[in-house]
């Protein structure tokens, strides 16, 4: 028994040492100049129907596929559509397909592929791509290289949210695919993009992309782009085993001190905000919501809960990072507890029994339950700030699924909620009102008729200057009414080893329909 035990233990350690002696260099010599490694999780097979419905999943898929237009540091640029025109009435969009564009299997990208893509998506609903395609009446290929979109009505976000978001798929492959949500064949990753997929291991979150040598938009700088999942990316980057990763704010602060690394910062277009049950007293009173806004010290909240890794919320909902659409001329609520107390007093909410919590005229305490999902210190900070003006908050921390379920069913008094989808085109402002075509009305309690009217108007105005006026007005109304109080907009960071790929940037407004990312395919192209 003793001998057996000894043999097993010694064998294991000997094998480990042998393995170490034989392979110590294999890790360090692998990172040649033509290899770039980024840490990340598994986001699904990078094909149009099988990536996980998350921003990073879309970004990886878009390394293989292309859209008609794309975004650079300045805004929208022609892509597969080498040029485009819109008719006077804003209902016809015509694109010329780049004659150099080819699929990875050598066939040319044609107007017919574009027509096919949109017809295929309408036949096979896609969790993401179908959302705004209802506005398209038909898509028509005119010859091999021209395609025209006919819209039912002018649609302002067409270029960003449809032409700049939906990947064009090759007809010769997809026309035979009956069940795209289960299509994970190697042909499912034949695109026209700068990279081809050579390996995907779901269990290890490993993606190996190889440069497309005949990419129509120029030479690809990185020969092999690898995504992999180290348990400790911070250590892996410092040790040089990966070239880049997206750290959180605290990790970014550590990495910024390292002279051998660079960190870039951008907006995450992710909002953390307070939601109210607007049909319940006192949340149905604008003045009460304004008092709450005055009671909240947002810069302090950002400092304490996010370690300054966020931008304080704007009462107009639109993030200041969304530069051209942000309206600074709106009602503001700088931290002013005395003003909050004055408003509450004027509403008749006074602390008559001196227990620190105000009461309504009917004697009911200003004491509410606030649902929050298990994330950070925000709920505690908000609770303490409101307590200082006499509003009691009882926090109910839930797991994300339970939390979202309560919000969807409107079973809350106050909710702390965080989500993305506030970048790109300001069509996201329409999410705050009910969408008659949707089954899900999670935020449908805001019913200001003026706002609803402007929301319907803004998507039809194709002139940016005119549209800006309407979007500005919507922010004015939101800031005045405060149906929701934005607490902060989260920032994103990206840390990398300089010397390989150095042009990292966060696309203003996010790529496609507003996905915040550093992973813009332009970074990998010689331009």
């Amino acid at each position: 028994m003793k001998k057996l035990l000894g043999v097993v233990v010694v064998c294991f350690f000997l094998l480990s040492i042998l393995a170490y002696l034989l392979l110590p260099q294999s890790q360090t010599t692998g990172a040649a100049v033509d290899v770039f490694k980024i840490a990340g999780e598994d986001y699904g097979y990078p094909s149009p129907y099988t990536f996980y419905p998350r921003g990073p999943g879309y970004c990886r898929m878009m390394l293989i596929f292309d859209t008609l237009v794309w975004k650079d540091k300045t805004g929208i640029i022609p892509w597969l559509g080498s040029s485009y025109q819109v008719s006077q009435d804003g209902r016809q969009w015509s694109f010329q397909i780049d004659p150099q564009a080819k699929w990875h299997d050598g066939k040319s990208v044609t107007a017919d592929d574009v027509q096919f893509t949109f017809e295929y998506i309408s036949k096979h609903p896609h969790p993401w791509f179908n959302r705004e395609t209802g506005v398209i009446e038909k898509v028509e290929a005119k010859g091999k290289k021209q395609v025209v979109f006919y819209l039912k009505r002018p649609y302002a976000p067409f270029l960003t949210n449809i032409a700049g978001t939906i990947p064009i798929m090759p007809r010769h492959i997809w026309e035979k695919v009956a069940d795209p949500l289960k299509y994970t064949d190697s042909k499912a990753v034949i695109g026209s993009g700068p990279f081809r997929l050579v390996k995907y291991d779901k269990s290890s979150a490993l993606y190996i992309f190889q440069a497309n040598p005949s990419y129509f938009k120029g030479q690809v700088k990185v020969n092999k782009l690898i995504f992999l999942q180290p348990g400790q990316p911070l250590m892996a980057l410092q040790k040089g085993e990966i070239d880049a990763f997206a750290p959180n704010v605290d990790q970014a602060a550590i990495l910024e001190k390292n002279a051998n690394l660079k960190v870039v910062e951008g907006s995450g277009f992710w909002i953390y905000r307070l939601l109210f049950n607007l049909e319940q007293k006192p949340f149905n009173q604008v003045e009460f919501r304004q008092a709450m806004a005055y009671a909240l010290n947002l810069p302090e909240l950002v400092m304490r809960a996010m370690h300054n890794g966020a931008t304080p919320g704007s009462p107009g909902y639109v993030s200041p990072d969304l530069r051209e659409w942000y309206n600074p001329e709106i009602s503001k609520y700088p931290h002013n507890p005395n003003k909050a107390k004055e408003i509450l007093d004027s509403l008749g909410y006074k602390d008559n029994n001196r227990d620190g919590i105000r009461e309504m005229p009917d004697g009911k305490k200003l004491s509410f339950e606030m649902i929050a999902f298990n994330q950070g210190q925000e709920a505690e900070v908000v609770k303490n700030m409101l307590k200082a003006v006499g509003i009691e908050i009882k926090i109910r921390a839930l797991d994300k699924g339970a939390h979202d379920s309560l919000i969807a069913n409107q079973q809350y008094e106050i909710a702390l909620n965080g989500h993305g989808g506030i970048g790109g085109d300001p069509v996201f402002l329409n999410q705050l009102v009910a969408n008659p075509k949707s089954k899900n009305h999670s935020n449908d309690m805001y019913k200001n008729p003026e706002y609803v009217k402007l929301a319907n108007q803004q998507v039809k105005i194709t002139n940016p200057a005119e549209r800006k006026k309407v979007v500005d007005e919507m922010q004015v109304i939101l800031a005045q009414d405060l149906p929701t109080i934005p607490l902060y907009y989260r920032k994103m960071y990206f840390a990398y080893q300089p010397g390989k790929v150095d042009d990292w940037f966060f696309t203003p407004g996010g790529i496609a329909s507003g996905i915040p990312t550093e992973l813009n395919k332009l970074v990998f192209l010689k331009r």
Partner: protein, 346 residues
């Protein structure tokens, strides 16, 4: 002559009774599996949260600027079978199972069996080797401690193993990673294999896999060893108090012989039970170790599936884990019946 006949009959009676005992246990296991199937189906569905919201990015946490239209939503819900009543979904699940199909993962977009097959070998490699190593070392040290009871050796072992137990696994793993990988380059920082070795010969890959396995196995071994040590030490101390041990000592047997031939076999039974049950849970993976070392495994799959409410994956992974626990339990029953004369079958 009649004595021989009686003896044979007695043996036959015992064999039959053991067989019927095992048949009875088999039926119990079948019943348990049926209950598990029901629970596996029900539990994920009883959790609040709509799996469709994760599949499509709708609802209050949507990261998209536009909502999904009701028609597309209806088509997609029907596609995933989420529009069906639970009973219908349950029958569908059972009929798939009968055909050996664990279902198709909604969120992960792959057959559940494939998702499990990609991860289970890594989990088994990690957990089984750690538990076996921890058991061997723990038992050896437990016996040693009991042997040296009351000496500085015993106290020293006790203190070391209790201290080990007090260190959280994730902290222990991070320390090992920091000192044996990050600072000293002795072992790799993450993963189960090097990408650079993907095209190499099987021998090189095997070495590479072992090299990657060392730190995760060491962490898990250190995390598991104390339980085995304490259990063995306690059982050994109890056994050493028995009369037959005193008698053996009185007969002048060597201490080593008493330990390994007389005390250990009896003391090992509860330890073996604990090891077998722990091995049964190997299919559930080891989430902390997987996370720290970026090691593929079932733990992370289950955690991710829970977060996105992928019912199919939850059902499949729970089922595999349950079946493994039951299988090992059954094996243990078999071993007890045939190996431990004290287990009487009535």
């Amino acid at each position: 002559m009649s004595c021989v006949k009686e003896g044979q009959q007695e043996q036959r009676r015992k064999r039959l009774s053991k067989l019927s005992y095992l048949q009875g246990r088999g039926l119990e296991y079948l019943l348990t599996i049926s209950v598990i199937l029901g629970l596996n189906f029900l539990l994920p569905r009883l959790m609040p949260g709509d799996p469709f919201s994760y599949l499509s990015g709708i609802g209050s946490s949507s990261d998209l600027a536009a909502t999904m239209d009701a028609k597309s939503e209806a088509i997609l819900r029907a596609y995933y079978g989420l529009d069906q009543p639970w009973l219908q979904q349950f029958f569908h699940y059972l009929s798939n199972l009968v055909q050996g199909n664990l279902g198709y993962a909604y969120y992960f977009k792959a057959p559940v069996a494939q998702l499990i097959a990609e991860r289970l070998p890594w989990s088994l490699l990690l957990v089984v080797s750690s538990i076996l190593l921890a058991s061997l070392l723990g038992i050896a040290m437990g016996v040693f401690s009991a042997w040296k009871r009351g000496t500085a050796w015993d106290t020293g072992c006790w203190a070391v193993f209790l201290s080990l137990r007090a260190i959280p696994t994730f902290f222990l793993g991070t320390l090992l990673l920091l000192f044996l990988s990050f600072h000293s380059n002795l072992f790799p920082l993450f993963g189960a294999y090097s990408i650079e070795q993907l095209g190499s010969s099987w021998l090189v890959r095997l070495k590479d896999i072992l090299w990657h396995l060392t730190l995760p196995v060491t962490t898990l071994t250190l995390a598991e060893i104390t339980a085995k040590y304490l259990l063995t030490r306690g059982a050994m101390l109890d056994t050493l108090e028995e009369d037959y041990i005193t008698f053996a000592r009185a007969r002048g047997m060597e201490e080593e012989q008493i330990m390994y031939k007389h005390a250990l076999p009896n003391a090992l039974l509860p330890v073996v039970t604990q090891i077998a049950l722990r091995l049964g849970m190997a299919a559930a993976g080891m989430i902390y170790v997987e996370t720290i070392f970026g090691y593929p495994g079932m733990g992370k799959l289950m955690q991710d599936a829970l977060a996105v409410r992928d019912f199919q994956v939850l059902q499949g992974t729970f089922l595999i884990t349950s079946v493994m626990v039951l299988a090992l339990n059954f094996l243990l029953d078999l071993c007890y019946v045939y190996l431990d004369p004290r287990v009487e079958v009535r």
